[in-house]
Symmetry: C2
C-alpha cells in the first residue's frame, strides 16, 4: 500500500562528539521516505525545496520508490536549513541556525493520486500545515500517524489540539509526552494523551527504546546498545518511516502488527544514527535490515521463567 508523508526535505549542518557534517541532506520527510521505502512503495512525499537542492538526491529518492509529484521545487528560492550541535551524551542538542527559507510560506498541495491514500505519516511541521494535508484527503485513511515537538506545544497549542483529534497514532519523545500531558509518569502521561484524540501512542526514549500504548496493552521496544552513535539526526523520522512503511506493507492493523512495527522502526533508527545524514540509510539491503530486526528480537527473547 502507498504511504503518504509530509515533512521537511532540507539541508543540515551537524556537530557531534564524533565529527561534523556541513550542509548535508536532511529533513523529516526525507528520512521517513528512505526508511519506509524498504517496506512499501510508493512513498508519496509532500514537501518543498528550493532550486539549490541537489538533483542527484531527488533522483536517488525516486530510484528507491519515493514519488515526488507532491514535492514543490521553488525556483530562485533556498531550501530549509538547520544547523545544530549535539551535547556529548547525544541526548540534548543546541540549535545554531534555523533558516526557514521555502518553508516560511509552505502550502502543501496533494496531487489527485495522493488524495485517497490509506496510510498517512505527518512528519513534524507546523500543526496548521499538517491539518492542510488532512483537509485535502478525499477519504478517511486507515491510519494517520503524526509526529510533533515541544515547540508547537509552546506556540501553536490550539492548532495542535485540533490536529491531534484527527490522528490515530501519535509519535513523540518522553520529554514531549511529559510537556503535552503535564504528567511526569509516562503511564499517566499516556492516559492523558490518549484522551486527546489518538488511539495509539508511541513514546520514544532514544537510547532507552520506545513504549507503545494501545487500548489495553503496553509494549516496550528495546533500543539496541550501539558501539557508537555518530549522528542522532533523523533517528525519530527513520523510526516513524520504518514503522509506517511496515504497517502499510502488512495492511492489517492488529495489536501485534503495531508491536512488530515498533521493532522495525527501532531497527531503522538504529541504522540511521550510525553515520552522518542519510549515508547509512543508503547502504541498506533487505538482508541487512532483516538481520538487524532479528537482533532486536533476540535482545528481548527469553524462556518461560517458571
Amino acid at each position: 500500500m502507498a504511504l503518504l508523508t509530509v515533512g521537511t526535505v532540507a539541508f543540515d549542518s551537524i556537530e557531534t562528539a564524533h565529527g561534523k557534517a556541513d550542509r548535508v541532506i536532511g529533513g523529516a520527510a526525507m528520512y521517513i521516505g528512505l526508511a519506509a521505502a524498504h517496506f512499501t512503495t510508493p512513498i508519496q512525499l509532500v514537501s518543498v525545496v528550493g532550486d539549490d537542492f541537489p538533483t542527484a538526491e531527488l533522483r536517488y529518492m525516486e530510484s528507491v520508490g519515493i514519488d515526488l509529484e507532491g514535492l514543490q521545487i521553488k525556483p530562485g528560492e533556498k531550501s530549509f536549513y538547520w544547523a545544530g550541535r549535539y551535547h556529548d551524551d547525544l541526548n540534548g542538542r543546541d540549535t545554531l541556525v534555523t533558516e526557514l527559507n521555502v518553508l516560511a510560506d509552505f502550502d502543501p498541495v496533494l496531487p489527485p493520486a495522493y488524495q485517497k491514500t490509506a496510510y498517512v505519516m505527518l512528519g513534524n511541521l507546523t500543526p496548521a500545515v499538517q491539518m492542510r494535508v488532512l483537509d485535502q484527503l478525499k477519504k478517511r485513511p486507515k491510519l494517520v500517524a503524526m509526529d510533533t515537538m515541544n515547540f508547537w506545544m509552546d506556540v501553536a497549542w490550539d492548532d495542535l489540539m485540533k490536529v491531534l483529534r484527527r490522528v490515530d497514532l501519535l509519535l513523540i519523545n518522553d520529554e514531549e509526552a511529559r510537556q503535552l500531558s503535564g504528567e511526569h509518569s509516562l503511564m499517566k502521561a499516556a492516559r492523558q494523551i490518549l484522551r486527546m484524540g489518538p488511539k495509539i501512542l508511541v513514546i520514544k526514549k532514544g537510547e532507552h527504546g520506545a513504549l507503545l500504548f494501545q487500548q489495553n496493552s503496553v509494549f516496550y521496544a528495546p533500543a539496541l546498545p550501539l558501539e557508537q552513535v555518530t549522528d542522532p539526526t533523523g533517528a525519530g523520522d527513520s523510526f516513524a518511516g520504518g514503522m509506517m512503511g511496515y504497517l502499510a506493507m502488512k495492511n492489517r492493523l492488529s495489536e501485534d502488527n503495531f508491536k512488530k512495527a515498533i521493532i522495525v522502526g527501532s531497527a531503522m533508527a538504529s541504522f540511521c544514527v550510525e553515520k552522518f545524514s542519510n549515508a547509512r540509510m543508503k547502504e541498506l539491503s533487505g538482508d541487512i535490515i532483516r538481520d538487524r530486526i532479528r537482533q532486536f528480537a533476540d535482545l528481548v527473547r527469553f524462556g518461560n521463567p517458571f
Copy 2:
C-alpha cells in the same frame, strides 16, 4: 540452594516527591534477603546492627527464611543510619546524613554453615569487607555476584579491582559502568569491565530497564512503566536479591537462566519502589510475583515480523 549475602541492615530516612518516611527499615542485605527468600532459602545474612534495631523486624526476616546466625548485634551501639532526599524525577538523590555507627569497624564473620555456600551476593559495601567475606569461603562458590558504587571507585579503587577479579557477575548502574570503564557507550563500557574479572555484567538503568552482557550475547530487560514510584530506595538490592534467589533456586547457570533471572530481578525491583521501606516487599505472595513476572514477559513479547 542457600544464598549467602553480605550488606547493610540499617535505618533510612527518606524524602521523595510523594512523601517522607522517618527512620524506617533499610539496608542492602535486608532488601536482598527479602527479595531472594521468595525463590530460595535459607538466605545466610552477614551484617551488623546495634541493639537499637527492632527485634520484630529480625523475627520477620527469620520467618521468611533468612538465617541471622551471621548477623552481629552490638550491645550499646547504634545501627547504620542514612538519610536522603530524592530529586523530583527520582533519578538523582542527595545524601543528608550518613552515620556509620556499627558499620565503622564492621568485620564480617562467616559461621561454619556459611563457608561452603554455592551462591554469594556481595551487597554494596567497602570492597575490603566484601573481600573479607570471600576470604572466609572454604570452597569456590558456583556464582559470586557483587554490587558496588561510584564512591568506592573514588576512594578504594585498588581494593575494588582486587575484589572484581574474584567475582563472576557485577551488577552496577549505567553511571557507575561509565565511571568504572571510562567509556560513555555502554557496549564499550561492558567490554572494558568484562576484562576486569567478571564474566557477566548487569547494567541497571532504573526506569529504563537493565542490560545483561554475557560472553556472546546482550539482553535487554525492560522496566515496567509504573503509575507512581513512591520510593526508589532498595530497588537495586531487590533486583539483585530476586536475580540471585532465582539463580540459586534454578541451580543451573545457563545463558537463558541468567536472562530469566534479570526479568525476575526487574519484577522484584518494580514492587520495591511502590511503597516506602520494605512495606511492599512484605505484602508479596508467590501469585502476586508470578503475575508481575508475566507482565514483564508480555511487555516485550511480539510475533515474527517477517
